[in-house]
């Protein structure tokens, strides 16, 4: 038991932090928002170029051969900068599905391309007979769709679908409507494993994104509260402000425990992995919403402007809450897992 980063993990965190600090600044993110893609291609190329897009994929497929802890480290770093790139859709969800449930041929064909960033994947979720899939993250820029119609999963390439981009509240991760054309694509032989892996890795990555975002909200708001003078003193000296910031930190530190507990539990195959994933997804995204809301409030009027970055966090917090299940849904799963019988519908 050693619940802290190894030196290698700390190095990955530092590498990602400096990459995003230099390549994911606000103006770059805003450019990717403005063109409707939510994709900073130069950032994605740089990120993939140093092997980070395939962080959790086996080395034989061009991945780094690491695990969920490293995936979470990268998602957290991306979240801190509200980076505009399809790490969650492609690296966490699509790649995990294919790695866990694809045939050898499917893995050999697609994983190296996803790991190198040359192809972007995403996950489309719908009912058993669905042919139209709403709310597909980064769907408009994806080359490959892991389509889940109920519990049957298939790989569908871009040329076999019709994609309608939407104007999405969170412009760093636009949602698309994907319609299957006649072709249904290629079934994944182990659909159950694929879906479970995509949801587990997806939830951990979203929770980590939320953790990074919440931490950025706190850091930036603390910085502002120390500089902004009203009534002749820094507003951070008022308890009404101080205490709200302290409460943000209390929640964020719990969210940090949750994210890395879930990542470790998955990597180590712990019995409580399912509870850990639901806990991380629910708690971290709740925390992000609270912190992003508080960021706007404590910045006052400037926090409500388009020019200030507060709304980027606020909107991504909302998207992190709803992608792959709301906090309420995840808490209900926990209720069932800890022995509260399910309610008769």
């Amino acid at each position: 038991m050693h619940f802290a980063f190894t030196s290698e993990q700390a190095m990955i965190a530092e590498t990602a932090a400096s990459l995003f600090a230099e390549a994911a600044m606000s103006e770059r993110t805003r450019a990717a928002m403005a063109d409707g893609t939510g994709l900073d291609r130069a950032l994605w190329a740089e990120f993939s170029g140093i092997g980070l897009a395939g962080v959790a994929l086996p080395e034989v497929y061009g991945g780094a051969g690491l695990g969920m802890v490293e995936l979470a480290i990268l998602a957290e770093a991306a979240g801190r900068h509200v980076a505009a790139m399809p790490f969650i859709a492609s690296s966490a969800m699509a790649a995990s599905a294919i790695a866990a449930g694809g045939s050898e041929a499917q893995r050999a064909e697609w994983l190296p391309r996803l790991a190198s960033g040359e192809a972007i994947g995403t996950l489309a979720l719908g009912g058993a007979d669905a042919t139209i899939f709403d709310f597909v993250p980064h769907g408009a820029v994806a080359d490959l769709f892991v389509v889940a119609a109920g519990d049957r999963l298939a790989l569908v390439t871009r040329d076999c679908v019709t994609v309608a981009a939407t104007v999405t509240m969170d412009q760093t991760r636009p949602l698309a409507r994907v319609s299957l054309d006649a072709a249904k694509g290629e079934a994944l032989p182990f659909s159950g494993d694929a879906l479970a892996a995509a949801q587990a890795a997806g939830c951990v990555a979203i929770a980590a994104d939320a953790l990074g975002g919440a931490q950025a909200c706190l850091d930036r708001t603390v910085g502002y509260a120390r500089e902004r003078i009203q009534f002749g003193r820094a507003i951070g000296s008022f308890q009404a402000v101080k205490h709200r910031l302290a409460d943000m930190m209390v929640d964020i530190e719990q969210a940090r425990s949750a994210v890395y507990w879930a990542a470790c539990a998955l990597d180590e195959g712990s019995a409580d992995a399912a509870i850990a994933i639901h806990a991380a997804k629910a708690f971290a995204t709740d925390t992000y919403s609270i912190c992003a809301g508080a960021m706007i409030q404590l910045h006052g009027g400037i926090g409500f402007t388009w020019e200030h970055d507060a709304h980027l966090f606020f909107k991504r917090a909302r998207a992190d809450r709803t992608l792959l299940g709301t906090p309420e849904w995840h808490r209900e799963q926990i209720a069932r897992l800890i022995g509260l019988e399910s309610i008769a519908a």
């Binding site: 038991m1 050693h2 619940f3 802290a4 980063f5 190894t6 993990q9 802890v69 706190l218 603390v222 509260a225 120390r226 003193r233 820094a234 951070g236 000296s237 308890q239 101080k242 205490h243 910031l245 302290a246 409460d247 930190m249 209390v250 530190e253 719990q254 940090r256 425990s257 949750a258 890395y260 507990w261 990542a263 470790c264 539990a265 180590e268 712990s270 409580d272 509870i275 850990a276 806990a279 629910a282 708690f283 309420e328 808490r331 209900e332 926990i334 209720a335 800890i338 022995g339 509260l340 019988e341 309610i343």
Partner: protein, 392 residues
């Protein structure tokens, strides 16, 4: 980053579990599962001695002082197994978790040899003398005075909220030894025997109906000149370092008590049908999440301690658990409904969950109120401006 334990550590777990089960199903079956801090104190004192004789009392301490030199992982495992076995609330938890580690950190060789083995053996029970009527949140405003008289310190004043003083042999107290000093300067950290004419302990009845806290009066109390930790004037430094120790391995044991409380809420909800209410289900799930995150937060803090790295997150632990437990008390009453408001017998004494509802109002006060915790987090972890002081 790893949460699992090694084979050797699991072997330690098996050894601890076997010993605990034998003791608690045999000679100490009567105290198995006792959660109250005050009930069956005589038997729980014998239990402390039993643990000490088998060197299971303070496993993390050096073997020279009655411990086992246990690694951090082993200490975590022991805390888990102790709770799993239904070990009773430790009568000497203040000695084991606060006095002992502080003496280890600041004591002279002579002090360590004098006090630590007696704590580990369960022979001397300790309590803590920090708060005073005029030094609550503003702890540095301590008025209890001490001065040298020959080879003794003489102590004059009053402490309040001293838990378990009625069972204790020793009290460690922050007192003012610097004539005319104010605030954190001029304080000293003294170790004072309780069983003497100059010390009077008076119960305080709490809103639960129990009396776990006390007022402790010093009226010409004496302690040997050697019973000071650090130098005269170091009291604040030593006393604050101790507060950091409150967030050690013992938090895991505390969490096991919380586990029992949450399980009781879940059982009650299943028994009376409130488990079907989606709002109750959400709150129970949220409580479950909070409890689990406490455990992993504690493992992060402990790992940081072992690595010798700073852990600002540790500053958030007190407000986290206190707030969680108070919410659990409210949830418990919402699950129980009016049945929770009626005592079982003719005494003003409530069972576990209604008692939790009442008792947990103290959790967000003692050991630094939630408001003080927020100031500490904001100032020490976030670097926000210090709270201005008045002149009164």
């Amino acid at each position: 980053m790893k949460l699992g334990f090694s084979e050797a550590e699991e072997a330690f777990r098996a050894e601890a579990a076997a010993w605990l089960d034998a003791a608690l199903s045999g000679p100490f079956a009567d105290v198995r599962g006792v959660t109250s801090l005050v009930e069956q104190s005589d038997r729980r004192r014998e239990w402390e001695r039993h643990l000490g004789a088998a060197r299971w009392s303070c496993v993390g301490w050096p073997s020279a002082y009655g411990g086992r030199d246990a690694s951090l992982a082993e200490q975590v495992i022991f805390a888990e197994e102790y709770a799993r076995a239904g070990g009773p609330a430790r009568l000497n938890h203040v000695g084991i978790e606060l006095a002992g580690p502080t003496i280890l950190a600041f004591g002279t060789e002579a002090q360590k040899a004098r006090f630590l083995p007696a704590i580990a053996a369960g022979e001397e029970i300790w309590c803590q003398g920090y708060s005073e009527p005029n030094a609550g949140s503003d702890l540095a405003n301590i008025r209890t005075r001490a001065w040298r008289d020959g080879t003794d310190w003489v102590v004059e004043g009053q402490k309040v909220w001293t838990s378990l003083a009625q069972f204790s042999d020793w009290i460690f107290a922050i007192v003012r030894t610097g004539e005319g000093t104010v605030g954190p300067k001029g304080l000293s950290f003294l170790l004072v025997p309780i069983d003497q004419p100059g010390v009077t302990v008076r119960h305080i009845h709490q809103m639960t109906g129990e009396a776990e806290f006390n007022e402790t009066f010093f009226d010409g109390a004496r302690t040997d000149a050697g019973n000071i930790l650090g130098e005269p004037g170091d009291g604040w430094k030593v006393g604050m370092a101790l507060l950091g120790l409150e967030r050690g391995v013992s938090t895991l044991g505390q969490q096991m008590g919380f586990r029992n409380e949450l399980d009781a809420v879940i059982d009650a909800a299943r028994a009376n049908g409130t488990a079907a209410d989606p709002r109750i289900r959400q709150r129970i799930a949220q409580a479950e999440i909070g409890l689990r995150l406490m455990r992993y937060g504690a493992l992060r803090m402990l790992t940081a301690t072992e690595d010798g790295t700073a852990s600002p997150a540790a500053l958030t632990y007190k407000i986290q658990w206190a707030t969680w437990r108070q919410s659990l008390g409210e949830l418990a009453m919402d699950v129980l409904g009016q049945a929770g408001e009626v005592a079982e017998g003719s005494d003003y004494a409530f069972p576990l969950l209604p008692n939790l509802f009442l008792y947990s109002r103290a959790d967000t006060i003692y050991g630094g109120t939630n408001e003080i915790q927020r100031n500490i987090i904001a100032e020490r972890a976030l670097g926000l401006p210090r709270e201005p002081r008045g002149n009164a």
